[in-house]
Amino acid sequence: MNDNLNDNLVNINKLRLSFFTPAGEVKALNDVSLFVREGEVLGIVGESGSGKSVTAYTLMGLVPHPGRIINGEVMFNGHAVHLMKERELRKIRGNEVSIIFQDPMTSLNPLYTIGNQIMEVILLHTNKTRKEAKERARELLQLVGINEPEKRLKQYPHELSGGMRQRVMIAIALACEPKLLIADEPTTALDVTIQAQILELMMDLKKKLGMAIILITHDLGVVAGTCDRIAVMYGGKVVECGTTDEIFYNPSHEYTKGLLQSVPNIYEREHRKLVPIEGQPVDMLNPPAGCPFAPRCRSCMRICLRQMPAYTNLSDTHYSACWLLDKAKIEKESAILQTEGEAGNGE
């Protein structure tokens, strides 16, 4: 599954993370394993509550209260992030790994100018003087395609449009040329015409600067044209992972298949009825014992409700956790069930 473990930029290994809420323990991440190679774009796709954002946040040591890592490791660029102290984390945040959020309005400080906010990162992580930092900020604005950078440096976030603000966020994130950029739904809050522009900009910058990107989204359209590999998450689990083409053209998990069938394609001339995934999203307070998708799955079997399937390798790059792929295991399990059933009858 993971080739040459130590060469990867990111290695998340069997990560378990829970939120201890008054209503009970919410198992947000359940044995999540992922890796990202240097300079690669990994898409994490899933619906709200699937754990896609939390997974990426752990890479920056950002586990929101009342969450706690229970088990597993988060390795990034040689650091064991899950063991790091706040002080050490501050050194890598914004420097080696940075993040852009969904809503650029709420993630920029309304009281500081754009220039100030970009310079803050540079002054914190480098030995540059204020003058040099300002020069660098100007360069960065140019890099992200903002015209009249001199004027923009003095402006406040409210004076910019949504697309511009997201560009500023990207400029801040890239100020120290990080090795990894986490983009958490970077285009969701933007208008349709701007979305493609921002994605194109990110891919352009990736080519120029060579950083790796983790792109978190619920929109299959966002990952289709941008990612090298895609991990599909559901109910705190990575249910399937493969190259973009493998996920789109050879999906093996029932959830991935369902997701692909439920979105309309504008270029289809015939009216195809959408195939929705029936049922409601998982209740993370009371997740099912087996596969989290089992209650909504069209091909759900008895074993799916009882036990989580292990990963099956479909190619060097493609793996998926579904009992349907694991005939041998099913047969073995059904044998156990049978003996249990016989024992039950005997009582």
Partner: protein, 325 residues
């Protein structure tokens, strides 16, 4: 499909006053400016555009949730622009975008759906009312026990179903769907889209389907209208608009679409627009799209293009249709 016009809109204008900062001087945001279209019985008209283009305002003005500044709205042959709307509320309803904000958290789902039945006196007694509520809930895929629960006990998709049941309570003929699926999870969106289609088949509803998601609008609509800065710039049959659009704005919208197919996505040639949407307080003279249009000439600044038929059923407002093609 019957080709009888159910809703006709002529030269609809909706201006909102804003203070300009100067005393005694009022300025207006021209949210919708001179828009005309019609919707046939049992038909779905999609309305797409960027945020702030006036698509939601258009939907609300048709229902007279705002008092239109000018123009005429005809419903089933009657001019309803200045009449008492109460009898027409039974025929025209709306489903809102955010199912978290549009349901009263202190009312049970049964009462939310039943409120319209009470107002329009559609049930003779309590038993009949209860039966009707259960019938409506089952119509949208919920069951009778849900009637006694409160909105917070439901997921987003289920809440949107409640919102739809509420709109259907009066047996309407026309529904304005204002971004009804954009607040829902991807796997739930298809459920709701399919439900809209099934309800239309069953009850012969006409929809005005407002959304910024062109793929979904194309899927559900018979015809699609594209709005830009308060103006309708193009309107055509869904397939015609998708494959043979003529307005440069529509073309850029379609090219900017993120298609969930890697091969198509890799070879798409995107047409990026320059600049930002101008403020609706001071829209550009002439054609409103000219500031961002690659084909713009002096003529576009001087003269507003007419919204005219370019081929049967295909309307477009642009001076340079021949150049675009």
């Amino acid at each position: 499909m019957e080709n009888k016009k159910l809703v006709e809109v002529y030269n609809l204008k909706q201006y909102f006053p804003v203070s300009s900062g100067k005393l005694f001087q009022k300025k207006y945001v021209k949210a919708v400016d001179d828009v005309s279209f019609y919707i046939n019985k049992g038909e779905t008209l999609g309305l797409v555009g960027e945020s702030g283009c006036g698509k939601t305002t258009t939907g609300r003005s048709i229902l007279r949730l705002y008092e239109p500044t000018a123009g005429r709205i005809i419903y089933d042959g009657t001019d309803i622009t200045r009449v008492n709307m109460l009898p027409y509320r039974r025929k025209m309803q709306i489903v809102f975008q955010d199912p978290y904000a549009s349901l009263d958290p202190r009312m049970t789902v049964g009462d939310i759906v039943g409120e319209a039945i009470d107002i329009h006196k559609l049930a003779a007694n309590k038993k009949e009312r209860q039966e009707r509520i259960i019938e409506l809930l089952s119509l949208v895929g919920l069951n009778s026990e849900h009637a006694n629960r409160y909105p917070h006990e439901f997921s987003g998709g289920q809440r949107q179903r409640v919102g739809i049941a509420r709109a259907l309570a009066v047996n309407p003929e026309f529904l304005v769907c204002d971004e009804p699926i954009s607040a829902l999870d991807v796997s739930i969106q298809a459920q709701v889209v399919n439900m809209f289609e099934e309800l239309q088949e069953k009850m012969g509803l006409a929809y005005l389907f407002i959304s910024h998601n062109l793929s979904v609008v194309k899927h559900i609509s018979n015809r699609i209208g594209v709005m830009y800065l308060g103006k309708l710039v193009e309107l055509a049959e869904s397939d015609e608009l998708t494959f043979h659009s003529v307005h440069p704005y529509t073309r850029s919208l379609i090219s900017a679409l993120l298609v969930a197919d890697p091969v198509t996505a890799r070879k798409t040639n995107r047409i990026f627009l320059e600049g930002e949407i101008p403020s609706p307080l001071n829209p550009p003279s002439g054609c409103r799209f000219r500031t961002r249009c690659p084909y713009a000439t002096e003529m576009c600044a001087a003269e507003e293009p007419e919204f005219k038929e370019v081929s049967p059923g295909h309307y477009c407002a642009c001076h340079h249709i021949d150049k675009v093609q």
